[in-house]
Symmetry: C2
């Protein structure tokens, strides 16, 4: 396994990355010297991957398996409470280690649990989705949902290590691989243009990747994130650029009731952001076109937007939580826009631009909901369907 | 109001201390620039003190009042969840401020809530008990209970400010004042002998103190705590000395089912620790006798121990959680002992001494449960009853 040392201000932790390396992964866990392991998964990952890891780990220390509900439903403080109590009944102590095996939800629930039990026990991430491997694990944020909104309850906590085996991705549905790839594309567009060539050349509309490609893409994703987090570990200032494409994207995801994946929705949101940056001057048309090209190479079609209604999307756009960062009038939408590859547009030194909501609606209508006159880049997307 | 700036490693916050200073307290809260205030109390404090503060604060920003159950019952993750949801429904945002008005339980629940909501919003402590004013607020620990044990779920979080009005203590029952005073005596004994004269001269068995005495005692308590926390903000190494008297004390408190207050129990636990330190050599008899004298001046009688059974106490002593810090055989009890005033006895540089549990039982039996032959200092205690 290769090792990347992530550094977020004064916080640092190793990410070990390999392919088909379950035994190496167990060796790393052995070196952590745990009294007991508490392996946390969701139902799907538990069924697919927990067995082989648990069986090997049982030779190192006793292993307890805890399962949370699939999806956002289990991402609550009640789940943290339930598992904490179960762990205590099973004899957890300060030297126990929490292993978060799964995607972002498992990572968050297990992360908050590890942060809070005994005011912090060791946490090891074993991500099994592309987005978790290349993005979520490179963060100190741990959070769960309230009925009033996502990720409202949480804290910052540094994992002991991240152990990545890209072989886990072979059981991941193509739609999820595409979703993760959209976030990796996003980070490359907004942060590090230099990763774009690597990603662009390797993207496949069918989302079928070999392991060496996955290794390279995961590493590129982590490096893009590191570049910003090194000076903003709490993701409160510079790291707001990770929200690129999310203003419209998150609205589309919510309006679709989850039928459109987070990544796809962010992909569509980036098209909106690129068209707005182009329309308001500043973004070269080549960079705008690159957005369409990357989405197309990743197998995401613009047509997906037609599954949701524009008024519903606009209502959600107008209650976007980036509103808390700047003073915006009710008709203004704070958005992250590009001025060039890897260069967010700044206003007063801050990467948020206030856009009139009527312009947002116009762009969404024209470029996502009614692309009536296919331009060259839209033709390209059409050709790839 | 006077200001003490507490410094715990790189974390720092101001403690404003005054007497009958509700208007000044509101001015400090005004300067914090909150969008809304969320005042958290328990039933008793809510009834006694929340009204006047809320009424004044309402001129600054809107105030929401949230009440948790009295005592340890409300100190749970479920309470944090419930109030977080109520706060969100009431429109809380990142600029809202949590005010923890009450004793240690309220401070802990509100502290964890403030630490977790939006991954941290501002927290102001307005302590209303002596122990909270002089001890609890000088800590970054925030925690709630699990059914399996106290304070098992929590994190470290730095308050924005602490605002102390000693006038709140006038509604505190004498038994609670005595309990708080025991912890202040403990910190003086183990950390800063120089505060002892001040405390010793002012202690009153009837627990009736004037405001200037309370101000002086609260400041002395905070200064003793600061002295250790400045180099151990997480209370993981040096700060273990705060647990002086707690090995036996906590066992007595638990065995009494709460009839003996925490402070009184710690007071009795310090007598046990002093007798053990004396018996195993090293502690001057003058310091041992001072333990009895301070307890007597504080109106705590040794007879209280007879309300619990020695075997029950010993069973609890043997499962004390300081066992996790050192390797101890089953018949050994890790204890914090004094070698002199303000000087913990060290073993391998660590302030824990392994004591044979038979010696602990013998000392408890002889000096707490069956003080058959009253010695000079026991006579003094008897005289003051």
């Amino acid at each position: 396994m290769r090792c990347m040392q992530l550094q977020f201000e004064e916080e640092t932790y190793p990410v070990w990355i390999g392919s088909d390396c379950l035994d190496d992964l167990v060796e790393h866990l052995r070196n952590i010297d745990a009294s007991t392991f508490h392996l946390i998964t969701d139902e799907t990952v538990g069924r697919l991957h927990a067995g082989p890891l648990s069986a090997r780990l049982a030779h190192v220390a006793s292993v307890h398996n805890w399962v949370i509900d699939d999806g956002e439903a289990g991402k609550s403080l009640a789940t943290v409470d339930r598992i904490a109590q179960a762990m205590m009944r099973a004899g957890a102590d300060r030297r126990s280690v929490v292993i978060a095996m799964g995607g972002g939800v498992v990572g968050n629930v297990a992360g908050l649990l590890a942060a809070l039990l005994f005011r912090g026990i060791r946490l090891v991430h074993v991500p099994t989705t592309l987005i978790a491997m290349a993005d979520s694990v490179a963060s100190l944020k741990q959070a769960v949902n309230l009925p009033q909104g996502k990720n409202l309850i949480g804290c910052f906590y540094t994992p002991t290590a991240v152990l990545i085996d890209v072989a886990f991705l072979e059981t991941l549905p193509a739609v999820q691989v595409r979703s993760g790839m959209c976030e990796i594309i996003k980070n490359a567009l907004i942060i590090s243009g230099d990763n774009l060539t690597l990603i662009q050349n390797r993207l496949r509309p069918d989302a079928q990747y070999d392991r060496s490609t996955l290794l390279a893409i995961v590493e590129a994703g982590l490096m893009a994130k590191q570049k910003v987090m090194v000076r903003d570990k709490r993701e409160r200032s510079d790291a707001i650029v990770f929200e690129y494409g999310h203003t419209v994207g998150h609205a589309i995801e919510l309006a679709s009731g989850g039928r459109i994946t987070h990544g796809e929705a962010v992909g569509l949101g980036m098209i909106a952001a690129a068209e707005i940056a182009f329309a308001t001057g500043g973004l070269p048309d080549s960079v705008r076109d690159l957005h369409y090209h990357l989405l197309q190479r990743n197998g995401v079609t613009l047509e997906r937007a037609s599954e949701v209604a524009l008024p519903a999307v606009m209502a959600l756009v107008q209650s976007d939580n980036k509103r808390g960062y700047v003073r915006a009038a009710p008709h203004q939408v704070p958005m992250i826009l590009l001025q060039d590859l890897g260069k967010p547009r700044l206003e007063n030194g801050w990467p948020l631009t206030l856009i009139d909501s009527s312009l947002v609606a116009e762009v969404l209508d024209k470029h996502l909901f009614n692309p009536a006159r296919p331009a060259a880049h839209e033709m390209a997307v059409a050709l790839c369907r």
